[in-house]
Structure formats: C-alpha cells, structure tokens
C-alpha cells in the first residue's frame, strides 16, 4: 500500500468517526434538554401543582390546574375540527388525488406544513377575535386545527396508499360500492397508520404557543368557557419563564416537564401504533 492509499483510508476513517461524533452530539443535546427538564421540573411537582390555580406573583404555592384543563379543552377542540378535515383531505389525495387538483392540494399541504404558526394565529385573530371583539379559546382551537391539517393529510395519504390494491379489488368484486370499499376496507386497513398520524398531529399542537398568544390569550383564573380567554400550559410556561420571580421559574420548569410528558406520551403512542401495523403486516 502506497502513501496515497494510506492517506485515503485514514481520511475515510476520520470522516466516519466525525459523522458518528456529530450523531452523538445531536443525541446528547436531546438527553441534556430532557435531563434538565426532569432535574429542574420534578422538584416543583406536587399535588398542589395539579389541583390549584395560580396565586398572585410573589406568593408561593399555587399550581396550574387551569392551564392543564385549558390545554385539554383547546387541544381537544382543535383536534375535533382539524382531524376530520385532515383525514378527509388525505383520503381524497389517496383515492382521487392523481389529477391536477390532487397535485395542487398535495403541494399546498407540503408547503403549508411549514407555515409559521404565528401567521396562523394572525389569521384566527382576523376571523374570530376581531369580529367577536373578544379573545376566545375557540379562536385558539381554530388556529391549532389549521396547523394540524396539512401534516395529517399527507400522513393519511401515505398510509392509505400503502394498502394493497388487491384488497380494494376484492371488495369491489364482491359488489361493494366504492365509498364503502374506501371506508370499510381501505381506511380500516390503514387505521393504525392513520391513528399514528393523528397522535403525532395532536402532539404537535399540544405544545404550540405562538398561535395562542393573541387568540386564547391566557387566563389567570380557571375557565372552561370556549368563548372566553383560556390558559394553556404552553402560554403559562412563556409567562412564567419570562417573568422575574424565582417561584415562577420553578413552576415554568414543572409545567414544561408536564407538557413534555404529554407530548412524549403521544409521540411514543404513535410509534407504538405504527409498530402494531408492521407487526400485523408480517
């Protein structure tokens, strides 16, 4: 082996090590962030945190019960609006999406998947907050729904397209109409995949803050009315993290830990659902 050959092999080894190192660095970042969340958040977690409402600044104690309930309501309502539209769009793309409209919708879904969420917040503001003259949880839910549609549409489409064509043909040959075939055979076969998409979508909107800033606004009190301002965990973290009090910072970490737990549970659930599909497919 001449010198040149040795140099090339050494170069290859160095670069292999470098990309492995970079991967390690990326994973390390995640571990550090999660570690900080647990280390700083767990100490502030107690019963009061989940059951009490915020107390005035400077006082200690208090919790974020209103934000937890608010998150559930706004995310639930957003999903209620967003899931059917997103799944329907995905079914359209998979079933009838080979024409020009299909191309346009598919492209828009991919493009709008990256729309800044704050712009969607502006949109919800002009449509609901401005005409009603009031910040409402409903407007926040609408913004979150819009946010989840593009991603959901594309996931659903991919999952439905994975269903073998023979299944569809068999159903049609037995005299099933197309819509029944589509819903009862094809969509049902792809169900695990679609559920995965839904869970990922819900996980994504659960942590959103920007589109809620001037729609749901936040609320210091316990509120379950969707026609009034409402607090969410994400808004609460923002307020507490940027505030001046140590007690607030402590609560912000705890709220972040709870929010992260919620998001991770949904994400891991999604991963589990997709595993089920692959397991049954084999």
């Amino acid at each position: 082996m001449n010198i040149r050959q040795v140099r090339r092999n050494v170069m290859s080894a160095i670069m292999t090590g470098l990309v492995a190192l970079l991967s390690g660095l990326a994973v390390l970042t995640l571990v550090l962030i999660l570690g900080d969340l647990v280390a700083k958040g767990a100490t502030a977690l107690d019963w009061n945190f989940f059951t009490k409402n915020p107390v005035p600044a400077g006082e200690s104690g208090g919790g974020v019960a209103n934000a937890i309930v608010g998150t559930a309501i706004i995310v639930g309502l957003g999903s209620l609006i967003g899931l059917p539209v997103g799944i329907g769009t995905g079914l359209y793309l998979a079933e009838y999406g080979n024409g020009r409209l299909g191309w346009i919708v598919r492209f828009l879904a991919d493009v709008m998947n990256g729309t800044p969420s704050i712009v969607i917040g502006i949109f919800a503001w002009t449509w609901l907050v401005k005409p009603m003259g009031q910040f409402t949880a409903l407007a926040g839910a609408l913004a979150l729904a819009v946010l989840m549609i593009p991603m959901l549409a594309r996931t659903t489409e991919e999952m439905v397209r994975l269903v073998p064509h023979a299944l569809r043909e068999a159903a049609l040959a037995l005299g099933y109409s197309r819509w029944r075939t589509s819903l009862r055979i094809v969509a049902r076969t792809a169900l695990a995949g679609i559920v995965t998409g839904c869970l990922v979508g819900v996980a994504r909107i659960a942590g959103e803050t920007a589109p809620l800033l001037f729609t749901a606004l936040g609320n210091l009190n316990f509120s379950t009315s969707i026609l009034h301002p409402m607090q969410t965990l994400s808004l609460q973290i923002y307020v507490y993290a940027t505030g001046p009090f140590d007690e607030w910072h402590r609560l912000a970490w705890a709220a972040a830990l709870v929010l992260m737990g919620l998001v991770l549970t949904l994400a891991l659930g999604a991963r589990w659902a997709i595993r089920q599909r692959h397991a049954s497919g084999r």
Binding site: A26, T29, G88, V105, V111, M112, A241, T242
Partner: protein
C-alpha cells in the same frame, strides 16, 4: 413522468382497463358521488385557506403598504407613537439568525443523516433516528425556557469568553455579552431545525440507488469517497431541499427565538448583541398594537414572513420531490 394535464395518471398496479367494467367500478352509485363530493370539499380546504391567508394579510396590511410603500422593507425606524414604521431590523434579524442556524445545523444534520444511512451498525439506526426526531417533538416554548436558563448561562460562562479572546477583535463578536442575543437565538434555532434537515436528508440519501455506492466502491473508492463522490452528488438537489426546508422552519420560528434573542429593534453586526425577528415582533406587539396603522404594520410584517416562508418551502419541496418523488419527506418527523 409527464401526463396530459386533464387525464388522471393511471395507477400502476391496475391492469390496463379490462374490457368488461363491473357496475361497482363505473362510479354511478349515488353514495360514491356523495363520498367523492365530501372528500373533494374537505380537500379544497387547503387551497381555500392559502387564498384566505393571503387575502386577509393583504387587506389588513393595506394601510401600511400604501403609507410606507416599499421603503417599509429597508427603513429602520419603528415608532408606534409617531406612527412611523420600518421593518428593516427585524427582516435583518430574521435572515441573520436563520443563516446562523443553518451554518450550525447543516453540518450536524448531514453528519447524522450520513452516519445513519452509510456507516452506523444496523441495530443503532432505529434508536438514533428516533432520538434525533424526538428533538422535533420538544415544544418551541420549552426550547425557549431551556435557552433562558441553561443555554445562555452556558454561553456566558463557557463559550463566549474564549471566543472573545480569540475573535474579540472582529466586529462580529464586539460588545458586552449580556445573554439575550443573536448568538443565542441562532443556536436555539439550530438545535430546533436539526431534526427536520436530518430526517429529510436521510430519506434523500436512502433514495440514492445502491448501485451508485457499489459502482464507486467497485472502482476502488474508500467508503467515505463513495459517499462524498457518488452518493452526495446524486442526492444534491434533495439535500439542498432539506436545507431550504430547515431554513423555512427557522425563518418562521417564534417562541424560542422571542425568548432568547433580546427583542431589540436595531441592526447590529455583533452576534453578541440583542436583535429582533419578524415573528418575535408579531408575538410581542400584536396584542398591544393600539392604533390601526401599528396593527397594519404588523400585518405587513406577517405578510412578508408568510410570503418568504411559502416561497422557501415551495422551492424546497420541488427540490425534494425531484429526488424522493411524491414522498412527504420529513412531515412525519414530529
């Protein structure tokens, strides 16, 4: 593959139109028509939303557009009291922080993608790609929290002092570092976009045919040379697309940046100084905008941001589609 515009492309798996068409396939069923109608309506939501977005943004920013004209983009006075608005500092801050994020994130993400597709042992692939994608699952506001209480102190005590010792004479690292700064914003953004760039790059590299690698290796290339001279050039368009996608994310990212960038309406060369971004301006000022003109100026900022991100994303998608045709690359990354 090109098809005539009005003809639906034939589905590959279907045999080319067998002569006798069963009744169920003729699409005359009433339920079928309703089903298709409902799905079409739902699918039209997205085009409708895009047009509605643009319409609302243009209508509401019209007062500002007519008042300040194109100068809005390059003037930098932002005075709500006097009613004079120029967005140059936030446009500058948005672009610089995003580029800074790309400079940090692209090598990192490419490294992850290359390692996962070309070098890593098989058992490690699943877990590592899962963990990297998990970075995308962390909410933006949590990144902001972490940025304020962990990243900024770390920068202040560990990173910036040596940097200043070596490069302190350059204008880019001049001034006192208080924490909230362009540097902090860029680093947080970089961490946030790594999973997107890595996930899409990985799908692009996976789409490169094995014959490309085999040919290079067969010619006597080392493994790295095969990657560098055969695989990467083959997927170049897709990799650029992945980078653009990351750029799109970075441009529109709001909460984390708002929390660490310092929100100062000023154009500064130094990365250690506070800055501002378009998204941060909307987040901070929208619900406090007292006059119609103020609100309108913020709408125009939103319009500019929206148009830029849509263009960047559209360009990115076209590039990615060229390589990994039709796949929703990266959309499944949380």
């Amino acid at each position: 593959m090109t098809t005539l515009p009005l003809e639906p492309a034939p589905t590959p798996a279907e045999p080319t139109s067998p002569p006798p068409v069963p009744r169920a396939l003729r699409g005359v069923n009433r339920g079928d028509q309703i089903y298709r109608g409902v799905l079409t309506l739902l699918a039209l939501t997205l085009p409708f939303l895009l047009i509605a977005f643009l319409g609302e943004l243009i209508v509401n920013s019209w007062p500002a557009i007519t008042r300040f004209g194109p100068a809005f983009v390059w003037t930098s006075v932002w005075d709500p009291v006097a009613g004079v608005f120029g967005a140059a500092p936030m446009i500058f801050g948005t672009i610089v922080s995003s580029l800074l994020a790309l400079v940090i994130a692209v090598p990192l993400a490419l490294g992850v993608a290359i390692y996962l597709t070309e070098f890593s042992p098989k058992w490690l692939r699943g877990p590592v790609s899962f963990l990297v994608e998990m970075l995308a699952a962390i909410p933006s506001v949590v990144y902001g929290l972490w940025g304020i209480f962990v990243l900024i102190p770390f920068l202040r005590t560990v990173v910036v002092p040596p940097l200043k010792l070596v490069f302190g004479w350059t204008p880019f690292l001049s001034g006192v570092f208080y924490g909230n700064s362009m540097l902090a914003g860029g680093i947080i953004l970089a961490i946030m976009i790594v999973p997107y760039i890595a996930a899409v790059s990985r799908e692009v590299l996976l789409a490169v045919p094995g014959s490309q690698r085999e040919a290079a290796l067969g010619m006597g290339a080392t493994r790295w040379e095969a990657v560098w001279t055969a695989v990467m050039p083959y997927g170049r368009a897709g990799l650029i697309g992945a980078t653009m996608l990351g750029l799109g994310r970075a441009l529109g990212e709001t909460m984390a940046v708002t929390m660490v960038i310092g929100n100062r309406h000023d154009i500064g060369v130094s990365l250690l100084q506070p800055a501002y971004t378009m998204a941060a301006a909307i987040a901070n000022e929208f619900s406090e905008a007292t006059t119609n003109l103020y609100l309108s100026a913020l709408f125009e900022v939103g319009l500019i941001l929206f148009v830029i991100t849509v263009l960047v994303n559209a360009f990115a998608r076209l590039l990615i589609w060229r390589v990994a045709r039709g796949t929703a690359a990266g959309s499944r990354a949380l």
